[in-house]
Symmetry: C2
Subunit: 290 residues, 2 copies
């Protein structure tokens, strides 16, 4: 089967690699050409100079780019995907975007007899590298069934959440929940330090019960030490929370905590933490500590 | 070994029961006498009409009452524990209180050659009933070593966190973290409903990753259905968050989320939710939903 992968960032690079390793005929495109070259040196496959050329013969086109604007460009540009894709191709977009753009692109694709599935992922860079991503999808069931066996090559769990856009909405719920958990753990550890407790001992005691979370298990140690030079960056989190807050305005849900934490991330950006891990909400609380 | 248990509420009743079942000679006291009678019908042991009489011959005195004021009364009242306790007895207080009162009572006890350990618990009513509580303790190591084997009869994990008061401070971290997690999950599910998603399906997808938490695993189903008539009551949570926020003022830590969520629980109280489970933050978000 011929497939394309558009976007070789920290996520797309290893995801496309898993597809090549599984024996698929993979053609890639990346805006910065040097990354495409590196990819073809690492994996069996070829690259093209435009999205249009990269997708011409593909049954499935995977996309993983930065944001709504990048996605519009690779899809709708003069040399974009829709200028080259075959009739009956399926486009699977792994970018985290608004639900609106997923719906709009799906409608445009339908005019060309091309299918579109929104398919944001969780699991981060590590999940992409070891092929253990979770993929939350929106679109038609018949399209989902066509692509699911291929997506399995880089994921541990794939689920169709509903019509197009539902994958993006599910990803927004994920980010909303993370915002609350991280700020809660940050305040807990900040309080612990102020109260003279050892935060690592405290987590040993409380992490198995009602206060426990993935963030507590996997981030308390680095938070306690003030290490944030890894993981999912604050800039990306703000992009995702911005999408969720925009959507909440449209669907009339109330997200006071998410809105507040988004502002806290703005503080972290102002501290120079644009590339720090999401757990750096702790650094914001401790900014005045000597 | 002779022990006493003061306070037979939803926690103390089964905790004292586990001690009796382990073969200890248990004398109980409860403010409402009928509960003491029920306890002696359920377990081998006897009850007394005052804390003073209940503790007279005991090596270890356990306490589990409502709040700081209740604790002061059973400790320092005319017929209180300190009017009856033996020299060299150890008092283990399982009430969730301020760290200050733990320190003050410890100092008063020391004048009578009596030891005091603060020992708040997590695990809830279910943990008390099946003997699987977590106990976070503050006090002297020698005292801790004397009581630990006995506490094991109703707990799965016991840890000395530091000097007296440290148990209470650890419990405060626990409640701070819970506040963030619950509000995050509530906003996530509220958003999911507004966006037309099935919240239970969403949790299936996101709960194994970075958004995952005990609260998500154990409360999403009841939150989605709007069931809150069980669990750890909002009134108790507000008591605990009040203690944490007072302590934060003293130790100069900053808890913006905890403070906000405390106010949200005030809204839930005004909705009549005093006895609803902590997860009823969801009900507050959905109050306007038809």
């Amino acid at each position: 089967m011929k497939v394309s992968f558009i976007g070789l960032g920290v996520m797309g690079f290893p995801m496309a690699g898993h597809l090549a390793q599984a024996g698929l005929d993979v053609t890639v495109f990346n805006r910065t050409e040097s990354k495409s070259i590196t990819w073809t040196e690492a994996y069996k496959g070829c690259y093209k100079k435009t999205p249009k050329l990269a997708v011409e013969h593909s049954d499935i086109v995977f996309i993983c780019v930065g944001n709504d604007d990048d996605l519009k460009q690779v899809m709708l540009g003069k040399d974009g995907i829709l200028a080259g894709a075959k009739t009956n191709a399926v486009i699977v977009d792994h970018t985290t975007t608004s639900a609106d753009i997923a719906r709009a692109l799906s409608a445009i694709c339908a005019e060309q007899q091309i299918s579109f599935l929104d398919a944001p992922v969780s699991g981060g860079q590590a999940g992409a590298e070891n092929g253990q991503l979770t993929v939350m999808m929106g679109g038609k069931e018949s399209d989902f069934n066509r692509v699911e066996p291929v997506i399995k090559h880089f994921s541990k769990f794939v689920k169709l959440m509903g019509e197009v856009g539902s994958g993006q909405l599910t990803k927004m719920v994920n980010q909303i929940c993370i915002a609350g958990v991280v700020q809660g753990v940050a305040e807990g550890l900040h309080f612990a330090r102020s109260a003279g407790l050892n935060g690592v001992d405290v987590v040993e005691v409380i992490s198995k019960g009602a206060a426990g979370s993935w963030q507590m298990d996997n981030r308390h140690n680095t938070m306690w030490q003030g290490q944030y030079d890894f993981g999912f960056a604050v800039d990306w989190m703000r992009k995702d929370l911005g999408i969720a807050l925009d959507e909440a305005k449209k669907n009339k849900s109330t997200l006071p905590l998410t809105s507040l934490v988004d502002q806290f991330y703005a503080d972290v950006q102002n501290m120079g933490g644009n590339r720090w891990d999401t757990s750096s909400l702790m650094a914001r609380l401790e900014v005045h500590r000597k």
